[in-house]
Subunit: 337 residues, 4 copies
């Protein structure tokens, strides 16, 4: 249920409404726009208390939310969510480009790649410190050491950093280093982890689980929002289908669909979604043309030496060429990159 | 096995090679380029006769084809296949736009839609005469009557027409009316139908079966090519996955992948691949950005009255607006539309 | 809409009802039980004529059918459909066992396998004359020659035969040789073929398409029934999923579900549904335990020499051992085999 | 790499081998059989040290493990793993029956259900304390309170208990109450959770992720084994496919396949794998016939009042009837239940 408050409502007027919500053991989610204050009233059976709110002076309108997800739905908030990560605007007309190695393997090569992708136009650096690997005998990431390397690389390049967090016990530490916390596909319904990043003070990129419906994905985002964190990026990264010629099937249908259903920014990861180096630039262009607000792409100096997923990393030169093409596609659609 | 003949080989030299191929009970597929003549030698165990061909005077080089599909593979023919349908070039740098109603329901409305899509930029008219319907109680198409209406519409609008053929017994008749024969997703492995259109003298659009791998799809195209028809359009139209928010999952990964594996033109059908009207323009743009050589789109004057699939038809005005956007994306990639 | 006629209704009473149905341009499907006569009234908007039938003397009750499939639904006919194939009862408490080679490759080996599977307990012989093959360069079956071999084998062994028909033009000829016509997975929505076997006077086994929902499958069966052929076997043979360790994913959920939704007999093909020889007996047992009315299994004397699908054929001795186990499972459930 | 030690090897001989393994920074996994001692040598590139082990006196044979999973593979251990949970033998010829409510909602009803399923033949009680729910607004389980209720129910009924653990921070506490720790489908690749239960001293049931291949699943089990816990139950619970008539597609192919690939016990959860009450008994029978070593089934007194998944819970009377049928199927296969 959404309460739209009257224009010019006083601080006390807002507080009264919030107090009433809490009295009913419901949760209040405030969204203060430039003109209007709206409050999401969330909880089981919130709707049955509608009449109580109808009686409150400060309230202009009450709207039901028909979807099972509430705070992340377009019904709750009509305008696109835009937020700022160390000066990089996420979710607005400018398309955001995130690039870097799959996993952080050496400090020196991280520096090099960071410089290369920055020069090519990337605005945020990706790099895995904790890596979810199918086998316990595969390289699991350099962990905290890699976080420090990422931090040093940020100092040098001024690129904000995004890195994956896999364990609820790591969230507060990773959040100290990272500018965006990434939830990977295999943890997209790891609900205690979602709750924990919901309490963190850093934006979260939520990758789609490989067999997750759009509705389940939005409900996973709702877990994060319901715990207080509204700065969420939805990232399509391919779903699992019967097709084996590509690593996953990149579901670009999800992009315009999500733009309709949610106010959150929608990104695409063509590296995982295709998994074949030569095809990635074409699908990055397609993602932009479908309306994606950003891309996250794997880049490596010498993909054959990468400790994970080398076959899907672009070389810096390929990345730079791709950015040039993406800029043209973005411009054709009235966006920048 | 591919035989590349020496430059300037005589007619007799070619005939000798072909005679030798037939003597071995193999099939010869001639491809006469501007500079070179190449011959595909197709048949079980063709490779074991390599030595015989090595001895022939006219032959410059012999190359094995590693893929299970031969004639449709890039290995067989490096340059893109381009062909002409009543003046419309398919497969070249210009992107082809096919539009029209799902099924032909009334003659008058067909005229109207044809005029509307032509004006908006479509170069070929689509319209179903024989309709594959899930239920025997659904409208099955107006059949031969609809073919005559399509013919009349072509006379009026000069738009070439594409229509589906579902039964091997119909192929010769449908081929008399249609400019392109369409094989639908449900018949993509109807091998006797594939053989029959392989013998027809009209280009064929082969839609992807809804659970078909890329390799199976190329092998289905190979059925057509092996029976003599080399003018084939591959058309991605969405695959069946667990996701239910869209009708199918449009697999755009298939576009750059096919461009790598085959010399045939690659089209996309966003109408079936998404199945939700509002999302179709975004996915049409994405298809073009991914490298599609053409699009086939459903347009209807009053979708709610359509006898099939109205929910995924664009209104003529929506179509016209979409074409404008597509032109910008095409131009950004150095193509025209 | 189902019309239940009064007990003891006269021939004339029935004719009157049928005449009325035809007058409304609807189709009448008569089902004459031992006690009651029921008539399925099928056609677009059949339900709007309900009142006309309410006025007819001969009619006891009128029932709507809620499912999109009508004649094949349990609503239309509560008791299991049982029919007779040269003395073999299909659909009753006795479980039917069909076995034989994937494709008929040599006459002698067909004889041998037929004798072996008969001795082991098979009641019907399978063998492909026309083979749907992914590649045009694979063995396509011996066609009419193989049909004659099957006929001779029947004369010798008294085993009725089932074989696949792929082309509507072949139906009448194949029906002269075969006792059951098989529609393969790739043709499960080849609607003109379904219509043609619907007019044939032989029972039809309808395999599930590899991406077909249960409802689509029942609607495909409805195509056959609506054209007059009510002797249909539904055969689950595995669906296509992301799992690659087995050839397909055998969906045994379909067995109890179909028994609920339709009165038709439900068979299982574990050979295609698993595709790995060693695992087939376990899944054949599971199919019987799930309630299957029959099995169709590939058996070959020397699987490595088979011209198709040798890796999933059981050796005659393995088949015989499996039958012994299946008999125990059947007995445990109060059925025979 | 597996080292088989000579018969009658001394304690010191074993210790020498283990010391050598550790010196190479590899891990030693000891498996002491009645006749032989075998040691799994696990680590990246373990195989390159083969020669060092060939020189050791105590070693009889060295075998490579070809699969990516090692400790859980049949290659590592040929005989079935059998273990004991408070007197209930898991993995042997007797089939284990686990039953109980989806989530523990009230103490009294838990007592009642526990008594009912015990009387009907269940040997272990299931009940969710922490529930993974798609929406943050659904009932999330009674948590620690429910664990205490489960403990009290065990005191009363003597039924060992299994319950899900979702957060690595909960493992040690849940392990104090539960006899078996359950890892749910959504956490099947939550690697830090897997590592944590790998260190716990309680058996683990690892449900299959809903888009997990058999190989990925065995590698997830390997995570648990590699951290020291070898008492693992693999539980098939349905995979996600395009079919929507059932909740998931129960992949019984996985049962005989896993029995071939791993020595671990294989269970089936027909409740989630089908999701439709009426169809569950048939699929439970099929699971036993396919070779499952156990079943886990949801039972509820009044499914319509259940706080989660009521539509797939059996009533106690239905459960009791099903057990009777399962006993017959088990007996037919030479097993008990």
């Amino acid at each position: 249920m959404i309460l739209t408050l009257k224009s010019g409502v006083s601080k006390k007027g807002i507080d009264d409404v919030v107090r009433q919500i809490k009295k009913l053991k419901l949760k209040a989610h405030l969204s203060q726009g430039t003109e209007k204050v709206i409050i999401g009233v969330i909880g089981p059976n919130a709707a049955i208390h509608r009449e109580i709110f109808e009686g409150l002076e400060a309230i202009e309108a009450i709207t039901a939310i028909s979807k099972p997800y509430k705070l992340v739905s377009r019904e709750f908030k009509k305008s696109d969510t835009i937020f700022n990560v160390r000066g990089v605007k996420i979710g607005g007309p400018a398309i955001t480009l995130i690039a870097g190695p799959c996993s952080v393997d050496k400090k020196e090569s991280l520096f090099e790649i960071a410089n290369a992708v920055k020069q090519a136009g990337a605005q945020i650096l990706r790099g895995g410190a904790f890596k979810p690997r199918t086998s316990p005998y595969q390289f699991q990431g350099h962990g905290y050491k890699a976080l420090r390397w990422l931090q040093q690389t940020r100092q040098m390049t001024r690129l904000p950093i995004i890195t994956e967090v896999m364990d609820p016990r790591h969230v507060s530490t990773v959040a100290r280093y990272a500018d965006i916390l990434q939830i990977g596909a295999r943890n997209a319904q790891n609900f205690f982890l979602l709750k924990e990043v919901g309490k963190a003070k850093k934006p979260v990129m939520l990758k789609r689980g490989m067999a997750m419906t759009i509705e389940e994905w939005l409900l996973a985002a709702e877990y994060i929002a319901a715990h207080g964190n509204h700065e969420i990026i939805m990232c399509e990264r391919g779903i699992r289908t019967y097709e084996t010629a590509t690593r996953f099937t990149l579901d670009l249908n999800a992009v315009p669909l999500l733009k309709q259903l949610t106010h959150l920014p929608v990104f695409v990861d063509p590296s995982h979604g295709v998994g074949v180096r030569e095809l990635i630039p074409a699908m990055a262009r397609a993602a932009v043309a479908a309306g994606a607000d950003g891309l996250i792409v794997e880049v490596h100096r010498s993909p054959t030496e990468a400790l994970s997923d080398g076959h899907q990393a672009l070389l810096p030169a390929q990345f730079a060429q791709m950015v040039g093409e993406l800029r043209k596609v973005a411009a054709a659609l009235g966006r920048t990159l």
